[in-house]
């Protein structure tokens, strides 16, 4: 399988935060969702990939090219939508698309115009008059107008209402099907990623916690709810994000069979429930685990 983005051992240090040997890869033609709560390091990783900020160690290859040495070549082939949308607010949407798009050698004005029509953007409207949703669409039109091979989107659905979010997600799926484009898509809204991603990478406190095929993650991970006739203290620590309540405790594991063997071996009368998990559950439990470790 061709790899379109390969991040290996990425380290970036700030005074109060650092990326700790971040590694993951995206195969060509797939969508990867990049999940983490606010401040987990998603935007920092993306800025390193785009060579917008320097990093201390590790390597990033996009299309097999070094991100630092070949950043112009990479940027020509990547469509990037940042978390905030920066346009000349007093100029029209059409002017902005034409101006910024013109820096891409493969910028297609006809495609840009058709994307504006498709996204219902009035090219004669000033950017300052556009809603947040329309600005996201304008940024997406800009990112798509040069037919990128990789689309990097930093929290594109953040702050949008559910209808617009859904519309955007459908657009992204169309892009992958029609344009043979890969997508790297960060968000803290896990339901969006659950809808469209093929691969999922979780980041927490600058560290990659899980990176795998989405369906494999959802198949593997299970939530256990165990009655209080058992004690968590007697178990080996397979569960993460453990929550202790009045009637027992709950936690999540990626080895449900192993945990059941251990639990029933130690507590033959154990009463427990096994539930499927969503990406949201995983994120919450990962964050809880991290906080418990810090505490």
């Amino acid at each position: 399988m061709d790899v379109i983005l390969d991040v290996e051992g990425l380290v970036k240090k700030y005074e109060r935060f650092s990326l700790k040997e971040v590694s993951f890869r995206i195969p060509k033609g797939y969508i990867m969702g990049f999940i983490g709560r606010n401040g987990a390091g998603k935007t920092t990783v993306i800025k390193c990939i785009m060579d917008l900020i320097p990093f201390e160690a590790g390597s990033i290859e996009v299309f097999g090219l070094d991100s630092r040495r070949c950043s112009d070549e990479i940027r020509r082939r990547v469509g990037y939508v940042s978390e905030e949308h920066y346009f000349y607010e007093n100029m029209t949407a059409g002017w902005n698309l034409d101006f910024f798009g013109g820096f891409y050698p493969k910028h297609d004005r006809d495609l840009a115009s058709s994307l504006m029509r498709k996204f219902d953007i009035d090219p004669s409207k000033k950017v300052s008059e556009l809603s947040k949703g329309m600005k996201v669409k304008l940024a997406l039109a800009l990112a798509l107008s040069h037919r990128p091979e990789l689309l990097i989107l930093d929290e594109p659905t953040s702050g949008l209402d559910p209808v617009i979010r859904n519309e955007l997600l459908e657009l992204l799926m169309e892009v992958v099907q029609d344009e043979n484009c890969s997508i790297f898509f960060s968000s803290h809204i896990t339901s969006d990623i659950e809808k469209i991603a093929d691969f999922v990478t979780f980041i927490e406190d600058g560290r990659i916690v899980i990176s795998d095929v989405k369906d494999a993650i959802l198949d593997k991970w299970r939530l256990f709810r165990i009655d209080n006739n058992c004690s968590i203290a007697g178990l080996s620590g397979r569960l993460i994000g453990v929550k202790i309540g009045e009637f027992g405790f709950s936690g999540m594991t990626d080895d449900p069979q192993g945990f059941i063997r251990e639990l029933t071996g130690k507590y033959p009368d154990a009463r427990y429930k096994v539930e499927k998990v969503s990406l949201d559950d995983i994120l919450i439990r990962i964050v809880r685990e991290e906080e418990a470790n810090e505490g």
């Binding site: 800025k47 112009d72 920066y86 346009f87 007093n90 101006f99 891409y104």
Partner: protein
Amino acid sequence: MKDETIRLAVKDFQIQAKSIKSYVITLLVFIAIFLIMSPKQYQMAFSMAALVTLYRFINSTMYEDEKNNTLRLIDSLPVGRETVVRARYLSTGILAAVMIIVLGAVSFIADRTYAGASAALTICTFLVYIIAMSVYMPVGFKLGYLKAVNINRFVFIGIFILFGSISMLIGSLGTRQGVSLTESTIVLLDNTSPALITAVFAVVTLVLYIVSMKVSVVFYKKRELF
């Protein structure tokens, strides 16, 4: 020159298209004030007004980029930071050249008698413009508009005073008889070939401009936009 440089330079004018009316009004108001204060100093009046317009132009382009955070978007495009700097020098240089051409034409039409003094003043004005821009822009590229504007206000006031003093000196000396410095300056300029004057002027301008641009590139490459 790269297409990207021209595209960025043209953008500096496009985003200010609606301010042109305000620039012209400011120019006329300045000229009127100076003419009322000193009717014979029309050249100085125009020069001052042109300098103010140029200052407003640079400020305005930097302000638009900072206010809209568009430098961040430009930084994510396949455009080197060096190109961004070059484009700003190009657009500002074009405006300065236009101002000088107009000033030269006004001086030539209005005061043929003192052609030497007019030429001296025009050259002096252009050099002051270049010095002003060469000081202003590296500070802007290093610190960004919001911080740079406060520092540059003082720099420009200093240059403004210096420029005014030089202009007044040349103007007043040029109208008096028997002052050897002015006479010799006028004679020197009158007797020097225009090609030589242009060459000297071009070299000085170019050196100053290139040094300033190189410094700006170094500053801007190191600046953290994110």
